[in-house]
Amino acid sequence: MQQIIKGNQVVPDTWEMLAKDASLEQLTNSGDIIVPLAMWLEHAHALKARDGRLGVWLDADEEAESIADDLEHFAVIALNFPVFSDGRSYSNARLLRDRYQYQGELRSIGDVLRDQLFFMHRCGFDAYALREDHDPHAALASLNDFSEVYQAATDQPLPLFRRR
């Protein structure tokens, strides 16, 4: 089982991630699953009827707006980084947290590397599925790379100039 960082700890991941081309027929009734956005948009009704818990994942080119009205149905929202240098999911994260007040787990998936964790945390992520060849225990330290920040973001709603 893959380990992820959640909060400030390394924990086993109990969720099953479904690929973009997964079909509804593959699903079991129980078990916690994170489904691709397209499956949610097409099969919301069936997915809600399952016993297991539900999460959704968005690719970098998919928009937070498309699930803005559905947030109550998700225990996890995962945002994909197809490559770590693709920064779109940072904006999606902030929209989900700041604009749509999403309170559940917000997880980074894909090409997630330790040197991006600090930024991700600031944008509202609280769970990180590091790329498999990276050690999540070592990566924990990077959540504390900086002891002070200038601008307001999800983790710190006041800019430094309102605090200094």
Binding site: R88, D115, R122, Q151, F161
Partner: protein, 552 residues
């Protein structure tokens, strides 16, 4: 000058520490090259032709004698005794060892400097007018605004991985010496009818492969909303800018594809959600930052210094220097002085460790310890008493700073080119040198008058060739270096992109080509015309005809 408090200091120290660990992990083989690349770039570290190149941030070009001495020390101990002023007011070191960079960053942090976001696909150093705070034509001092933007953009968590690099420039004067029209965002200070301060916002300017002058998306943005509005622009760009093709990833391509009107609507819609949020600037913050930029106590003089004027009429060499390298100051009896780093046979913008120390000395002695870097790759002493100018000139001559060519043909903007840069298609420094050598007669140079000649070694246009009256671009033709010439580019308020003259030339032809262009100008000009004016009146044809005439 802005002075760090404990917060600012902690952030640059944390960065130095973070980068030390990143380098350690890289050397231990924990990163692939591709993974380390953006991390080192966001710290200004390139791997170039011969060695790493480290770009150090000089936020909006403001330096002090203390900082210059530190840079001299770094040049001596970690480099080959040289530094280079870039076309975005920053500093390059061309020969540091990767292993030493964490130490260099620590040294820099000790004088409140850093290399944060000097490269990479993030928000870069905010640039401005090198005469900010002393220019006679200034509406507002842009430096506090630059500092506010610097702080906001430093490690902005949402915008660390943009589609492409992002450059902001701010102008607060009548003339636009910051060339805001060629930046991703250009901010121009304006007052509305009620006398309130705000910014005209231009978006989508830039040079490179698709040169463009920015389009206005807002004519007046009240100043408290500056950061929330910037945040809205950046968010729209981060989400919708192209990421599939590096050459189409700058914001200008998005603005053009959507049209400026539609882009503005998208920004406006995003902004409605951010407006009046906590990032809204406060009077208290503006005051806090502005107090670092209050004009220092200057002596009061009734007007121009008589001794200075006398020397100008009696000493022709001094008068030449004063005409070109001394700029008007808003305080009577004072001047701003440009130290020319455009001596023939020295790469434009290069400065030795000894010169850095000497410039620090001059700043202490004549300019209240302050000094500026300019995008023209020179240095500026902003607070010089006119009565000291003659003495200063003599010292400058000894130090190699007195070349009286500011704003003339030999004051060439020039990127490092193929001698250093691994992106370059061609060398640029030797071209600058050969042109400087061709025009080494000072009287002739003065007769030619105001002229901007800019050279880039590749399409990326670090040498701003598109906005040179004469622009020179290095191109690669089947492995050989050639040079394409453009005419009619302009920086400033009426910024314009030059037009290509025709087929490119070999390096050896370049001095002659420029000579012919100048000949056409001299033969056709009216007494009051600059090169650019004559070009605009008579057009490309006579220049083209002369340069490509068959007998050559």
């Amino acid at each position: 000058m802005y002075i760090y408090d404990e917060y600012d200091q902690r952030i640059v120290e944390d960065r130095a520490k973070q980068f030390r660990d990143q380098v350690r992990r890289y050397l231990a083989g924990e990163f692939s090259e591709a993974e380390f690349l953006p991390l080192r770039l966001q710290n200004g570290l390139y791997i170039q032709r011969y060695a790493p190149m480290l770009r150090i941030a000089v936020p909006y070009g403001v330096l002090s004698s203390e900082r210059l001495r530190k840079l001299a020390h770094i040049a001596r101990h970690y480099d080959k005794g040289f530094a280079h002023i870039t076309t975005r007011q920053n500093i390059h070191f061309n020969w540091p060892n990767l292993e030493d960079v964490p130490d260099i960053l620590e040294e820099l942090a000790s004088v409140q400097m850093h290399a944060i976001q000097t490269s990479g696909n993030c928000i870069r150093n905010t640039t401005t007018d090198q005469f900010a705070g002393v220019a006679a034509d200034e509406l507002i001092d842009p430096r506090p605004w630059c500092e506010i933007v610097r702080q906001w953009s430093t490690f902005h968590p949402e915008f660390a991985f943009l589609p492409r690099k992002f450059k902001i420039a701010i102008n607060g004067a009548e003339e636009d010496r910051a060339v805001i029209g060629i930046h991703d965002i250009g901010l121009n200070a304006v007052r509305n009818e009620a006398g309130e301060l705000g910014f005209q916002v231009l978006v989508g300017g830039g040079l490179g492969r698709t040169p463009m002058v920015g389009a206005e998306i807002r004519s007046f943005l009240p100043w408290p909303h500056l950061l929330t509005y910037l945040e809205a622009i950046l968010r729209v760009y981060n989400r919708y800018g192209r990421r599939d093709n590096k050459f189409k990833a700058r914001i200008k391509i998005l603005v053009k594809a959507l049209t400026p009107e539609v882009f503005a609507e998208k920004v406006e819609a995003e902004w409605q959600n951010l407006k009046d949020g906590s990032a809204t600037l406060t009077e208290a913050e503006l005051q806090r930052v502005s107090k670092y930029f209050v004009s220092p106590e200057l002596e009061s003089f009734a007007g121009d210094d008589a001794g200075y004027l006398d020397k100008r009429s009696s000493d022709n060499g001094f008068n030449n220097w004063a005409t070109r390298n001394v700029q008007a100051h808003r305080a009577p009896g004072y001047a701003a002085v440009t130290l020319s780093l455009k001596q023939t046979s020295i790469a434009p913008g290069d400065i030795s460790a000894e010169q850095l120390d000497a410039a620090a000395e001059l700043a202490d002695q004549y300019s209240l310890g302050e000094i500026r870097s300019t995008h023209y790759q020179n240095l500026v002493l902003p607070y010089v008493r006119q009565q000291d100018l003659y003495e200063l000139w003599q010292k400058c001559r000894e130090l190699g700073f007195a070349t009286p060519n500011i704003g003339l043909l030999t004051d060439i903007i020039c990127c490092p080119g193929g001698d250093f840069c691994s992106l370059a298609n061609a060398k640029s420094i030797p071209i600058a040198e050969s042109i400087q050598a061709q025009f080494d007669d000072l009287d002739y140079l003065y007769d030619i008058g105001d002229m901007e000649l800019n050279i880039s070694g590749c399409m990326n246009a670090c040498g701003h060739h598109h906005v040179g009256h004469i622009g020179i671009l290095g191109v690669d033709k089947k492995g050989e270096e050639f040079y394409q010439v453009s005419l009619g580019g302009k920086s400033g308020r009426d910024a314009a992109i030059g037009k290509i003259l025709g087929p490119s030339f070999a390096a050896i032809q370049m001095p002659t080509v420029v000579q012919k262009l100048i000949d056409v100008y001299v033969e056709n000009r009216t007494p009051e015309e600059r090169f650019i004016d004559t070009y605009e009146r008579i057009g490309m044809a006579p220049f083209k005809e002369r340069v490509y005439a068959a007998d050559n």
